[in-house]
Amino acid sequence: MRNAWTICKKEIKTYFTSPIAYVVITVFLVLVGFFFYSLIWWFNSQSLQMARNPYYYQQLNINQMVYSPLFHNISIILLLMIPLLTMRLFSEEKKIKTDELLYTSPLSVNQIILGKYFASLIVLVAMLALTGILALFTFVYGNPETAPVLNGYLGLFLVGASFMAVGIFFSSLTENQIVSAILTFGALLLFWILNWAAYSAGGFWKGVLNYLSIFQHFDDMTKGILDTTDVVYYLSFSFFGLFLTHSVIQSRRWR
């Protein structure tokens, strides 16, 4: 575990000595801020209109009207940003030949992969934590329910972690960072919209496609439903991504 932590520290340092992490986090926060502002503005105007009708006024719910769509928006921004965070993790090592240093040091391949994965998760947590400032406003000036908000954040973290695992896998395939980012983006988008195909498919395949779609599982979580099926889905998704990465690296050495 200590070895993985060494790699993790190095990756974190690399993220924050190059402009990548700063640029990605800034753009991410600007976009999230914009969505948050629009949703809050819309919620406000609805509140003003509904204020005349006590029945409808009771129906207003900031969790449903602001947080649920906001979490969906953030997940889409993550889909766009995460390939940029994972693209260099293995590609760069291969390109500048430092992989030879790592693989001839007394480290296991698992430790290297986990170190890099943890580093990307730390950046993800930082990104999500910074959006917490926006959430803080809603708690100061309104009274949203806490549990669904936390559940939504957990959902975002799990979705982000799965994205990172896919990104690391594609990064291990190529020494070209652009190729790695594009493949990651394509694969994530495909998984995201897999449930569209479920509409036309019937029976068994409908269930399979729905289950595989990232969107289906995330939708529940934004609504405040914590289902272990969803958590298991994301954890196995991440595990599978890392497992494939391990296979790719091993196969390269044994070819």
Partner: protein, 308 residues
């Protein structure tokens, strides 16, 4: 210290290393010599545990490379041909990262970094980003990362390639100073490097072993006769004829600015020669033993391999 037995590595149909065996004793510097694509890098990568071999065995520092890979990695310092450096790190932070992944315990890490910086002469650049230092210094950082955990075995893949002549001399000096207790294998295609730095040599071509042994062993086994080169104030065919009348001399070959005289191995007739020259007043300018240089050895070995 390093034992290689019947090592074979195939990439698909391509045989990169073919049934290679050699041994390197403790405390020696050995050169792995061969033309480009002879299998030098592949051999080194197998020894460091980076690549597995298709067949054969190898032991480094008493550990089997394939069974006890992790132990081997702890006991080996490796400088790959493309020096593995993170351009965005400073020299010092890079070396402490390497110290960490080479499993140097936390309390000794700082000391190891300071010592390595001193040994490899990096004091003046330790705070600079690796991308901003010269090629020669980068090579030094590469060597520094290979010896930071004080390994008993060093494997250096073309440590002097793409350096300028002054840097080459510096790096060779550094490598020689590292010898001591360490066993070092370095690969090169520069012949002069072998005679200047190495105690022994393994010559490979197309993945196969052509020759191996200490330099003296090899040169004497390939030379059937002994000889001297002499330079005289006089020259010409008649002088050559005169020289061949010296008792014991078997062959006289006129060269550009002198003659080489050869005789059967083991006879000691240098005295006869000098006496003869002085007696005949031929005007001796220079006289030196005719050593089979590494270049001839290399070419004869490599071409010998081709004929097989």
């Amino acid at each position: 210290m390093i034992e290689v037995e019947n090592l074979t590595k195939k990439y698909g149909d391509l045989v990169a290393v073919n049934n290679l065996s050699f041994k390197v004793e403790k405390g020696k510097i050995w050169g792995l010599l061969g033309p480009n694509a002879a299998g030098k890098t592949t051999t080194m990568r197998i020894l460091t545990g980076y690549l597995p071999a298709t067949e054969g065995r190898a032991r480094v520092a008493g550990f089997d490379v394939f069974e006890e890979t992790n132990e081997v990695k702890k006991n080996i310092g490796y400088l790959p041909e493309n020096v593995p450096l993170y351009p965005e790190m400073t020299v010092q932070s890079f070396l402490s990262f390497v110290a960490e992944i080479k499993q140097i315990p936390g309390t000794k890490r700082k000391e190891a970094v300071i010592k390595t910086i001193e040994i490899s002469g990096l004091e003046s650049v330790k705070g600079r980003l690796i991308k901003n230092i010269s090629r020669g210094f980068k090579q030094r950082v590469g060597i520094a990362q290979s010896l930071i955990h004080d390994p008993p075995v060093l494997i250096l893949d073309e440590p002097t390639s793409s350096l300028d002549p002054a840097q080459i001399i510096e790096i060779r000096g550094l490598i020689k100073s590292l010898k001591g207790e360490r066993t070092i294998i370095l690969s090169t295609h520069i012949l002069a490097e072998v005679t200047q730095v190495c105690d022994g040599v393994v010559i490979i071509n197309e993945g196969r072993l052509m020759a191996s042994g200490s330099l003296e062993e090899l040169t004497s086994s390939f030379r059937k006769k002994e000889g001297v080169f002499i330079r005289l104030r006089k020259s010409g065919q008649e002088i050559a004829h005169l020289l061949s009348s010296i008792p014991g001399v078997e062959k006289v070959t006129p060269e550009d600015d002198g003659f080489s005289l050869e005789w059967g191995k083991g006879k000691n007739i240098q005295d006869n020669i000098t006496k003869f020259i002085v007696d005949k007043e031929l005007g001796l300018v220079e006289m030196k033993p005719l050593a089979l240089n590494i270049e001839e050895l290399y070419l004869s070995v490599i071409s010998g391999g081709r004929e097989q």
